[in-house]
């Protein structure tokens, strides 16, 4: 059995960019800031493409929810080897309020609609660090979940997934269809090559709105304030262990 794989990829502020809080303290500056695909989602795409290269998957579909520019993220996925894309358009203003639950509902609907047997997403996005989409989507679909995967192997009708857990590795077996979230060490994503970027131009991206899937994206919570982390105070040097212990006691740490 050859799988149809759905992969979620989010457009986030590039990992190398120094984040600045907006003057109104309601979010961070995104205008004129370099964006790229969430690194964990890149790992998810890479894994799906490898499954296709091993003939385990027959089709890889990349999905991104976001503003018009999210298509750039989908193009990257297509250039890496995904077959087609789905862009669920969310205006930039609403994007700030889009929650993992909304994305989960969208992904779940798409998985059903496309007849996907495997959904792979990054374990979390590096902007809001929610780490919730995979889990919620599995629940909505009532599919088994294999989160924080560092190795995926397919056996008949099941996946053997090695997970990174506290203190070691856990190997679990999940029945297909399933949801998998990719951890850092699952693979090393390839660079999209220039010829493949050109070929990706010919691949299709379908555009739709959450409403087309019957998903309501009304926010469930309100952002009160976004602020910079407190700046680190300078440390001091102590003469010896005794001085260290007394300082720590003074600070109430021990």
């Amino acid at each position: 059995m050859s799988l149809r794989v759905l992969v979620g990829c989010k457009r986030v502020i590039d990992y190398a960019v120094k984040i600045r809080v907006r003057p109104d303290k309601m979010g961070v500056v995104t205008d004129g800031v370099k964006h790229s695909m969430n690194p964990f989602d890149e790992i998810a795409i890479e894994e799906a493409v490898r499954l296709k290269e091993k003939k385990i998957a027959k089709e890889v579909i990349a999905v991104s929810c976001g503003p018009t520019q999210a298509q750039e993220t989908i193009r990257t996925a297509l250039a890496m080897g995904a077959d087609r894309g789905i862009h669920v358009e969310i205006p930039a203003k609403e994007m700030e309020k889009l929650e993992p639950l909304h994305v989960s509902k969208i992904l779940a609907k798409l998985a059903e609609k496309e007849g996907a047997e495997l959904l792979i997403v990054g374990k979390q996005a590096i902007d809001d660090d929610s780490n919730a989409t995979a889990q919620m989507t599995a629940a909505l679909l009532e599919w088994p979940q294999a989160t924080f995967a560092s190795k995926i192997e397919k056996t008949d009708g099941t996946l053997l997934v090695v997970r990174e857990v506290d203190g070691g590795l856990e190997t679990i077996k999940v029945k297909l269809p399933a949801v998998v979230s990719a951890d850092l060490r699952l693979n090393e994503p390839r660079y999209a090559t220039l010829p493949n970027i050109m070929k990706a131009k010919k691949k299709k991206i379908v555009k739709m709105k959450p409403a087309d899937l019957g998903v309501d994206t009304t926010a469930h919570f309100e952002v009160v304030e976004v602020c910079d982390p407190p700046s680190r105070e300078a440390g001091i040097k102590v003469e010896d262990v005794d001085a260290l212990v007394s300082k720590l006691k003074e600070a109430g740490r021990i």
Binding site: G32, E72, A79, Y191, L194, P195, I197, K201
Partner: protein, 648 residues
Amino acid sequence: MMLNKQLMKAVLGHTCNGRVIVGNSRPHIRLSRCLNTTNQDSSTSAQVKEVSDNEPTQQSIVRKPKRPPFIKNLFLGRFDKEMLTYPEVLDKDRHELLHEMIVPIERFFEEQVDGEKIDKEAKIPPETLQGLKDLGLYGQQIPEEYGGLGLGATEYARIAEITAIDGSIAVTLAAHQAIGLKGILIAGTNEQKEKYLPQLACGEWTAAFCLTEPSSGSDAASIQTRATLSEDGTTWLLNGSKIWISNGGYADLMTVFAKTPEVLPSGEVREKVTAFIVERGFGGVSSGTPEDKMGIRGSNTCEVYFDNTPVPAENVLGEVGGGFKVAMNILNSGRFSMGSSGAGILKKIMGWALEHAVTRKQFGHHLSEFAMIKEKFARMSVAIYAMESMAYLTAGMIDGQEEADCSVEAAIVKVFSSEAAWHWGSECLQILGGLGYMKSYPFERYLRDARILLIFEGTNEILRLQHAGNEMKGMIQKLRNPLMNPGFILGKGIERIRQHKDNPKLDLNLSDSLHPSLKAAGDILEYCVKRFQYSVETVLARHGREVADPKNQLELARLANCAMDIFAMTAVLSRASRAYCIGVRNSSHEVQLAMTFCDEASARIKTMVKDIENGPFISNDSTYAKIADTVIEHGGYAAEHPLTRVFW
């Protein structure tokens, strides 16, 4: 024809009393042009023809406008105002595609390229080279049907900004495709293209360009390598040695230039240069050990020897005896990207120097608060702005015009950018002070790498002379036959009197083609154009046919420098005007950069015109010639030591 709203606005924004005429050119390339109706345009008939030529063109046949060569015409006092409309070469799709391509290239250079190690070990690791090949960077300008990316000059220039981040890699890539295989693209037959381009595009094969020889550097026509045709006419036998060949140690395919005999009808035998495509596998090809260089240390530079190398007759590139033209075409078309690569490096290291300046405190102030440091950043920005503007204007000309003749423009880009990269690279190092001198910082490496830019692909001296000299020789032809060019001579009398008073008649209305906020700078440009024309005539009148003699080089160099500044002024004004009209971020900063550049450039031009007007005896030219003569005669520095005493 679809008109992009923004561009329309831009165009309307700067058509004061002119009108907008939309040409029949490729819709997304040049949508629009401004022509002032009250004044006769000074450019040649080609331009006028293009405007009136309004027959519908089929969408499938892409026709580009043909334009007169810009700088060449400048020598005649003609200014093509079209140059003041900055080219829009890429349509939406190509624009997006290019910017998608940039992402993985930038990442690759950030994550996989260790410039310090490459410099230290004088070798690019094979896995890095493989990564570059996998990305597709070995076939940038090779057409798609041969497995390349089919990029235009503009796209190639943009990518060169990134690949320049490591000098060794930039040179390796350029030696492969900007010159090594370029001959096949320019002059190759279909069979040659089909046979060689696919494996060159994927990097399975690497190419090199073999012209320079131990006794033949700038004087390329004097090469000694010889090829003789076998009696059956099927094979050439190649003999000789080439020096300083980039990729020479491992190139699988080489474009080699050699002398071949040509029998004249009189029975006399003359030797002419022919270009050959030589595979290493033909036999008789060997390479020397890699040279130990000051910079670009990771690029492979070797001597290459040919010992009775058999080359099949079908591997002649272009025509037998037509090799010199092939070589010049390759070199002329390879230079334009040096502007963007130089700008790419400078922007990068300026960023690092700035980071230092805003964090380092001395005397209780950040370095960035000191006026002398600030001035460096400001002047550097002006220089980078000029480099970029010229590079992309030239690339736009190459992409947007039919059979574009940009050899002079490309040479200007190379000369200006290489000198700016060297000078401002050094100033960045200076901002770091002692730290900048340390090997643990990248500044000294970038400076060493940048030094070659002033030397290779035609030294800056040769490029100045060659291009200024060629134009002047062309002028002589016209002057000697005034009846063929009546307009050239008529009306010169009154204008000369005005010029003598440094008050040329400004009748080109250049500022009409620019945003009104750039009017002052537009007028300065026009003044410079007029003064340049006057200088050209002055030099011609003074030296006549001897204008290109070795002893008159200083005059030619001044003209070349003036032409460079005028081209740069045109480019920065055209770009700033566009930026301001379409409203890009920080466009008022761009206007400031452009105005400042024009101001300083016109001051330089004034000095040079004055020197030309004064002639070698009032300027110090003849004194310098005498000083040099004494030094040469003396075999070195000729003044006595300051401690020398002739009396006690």
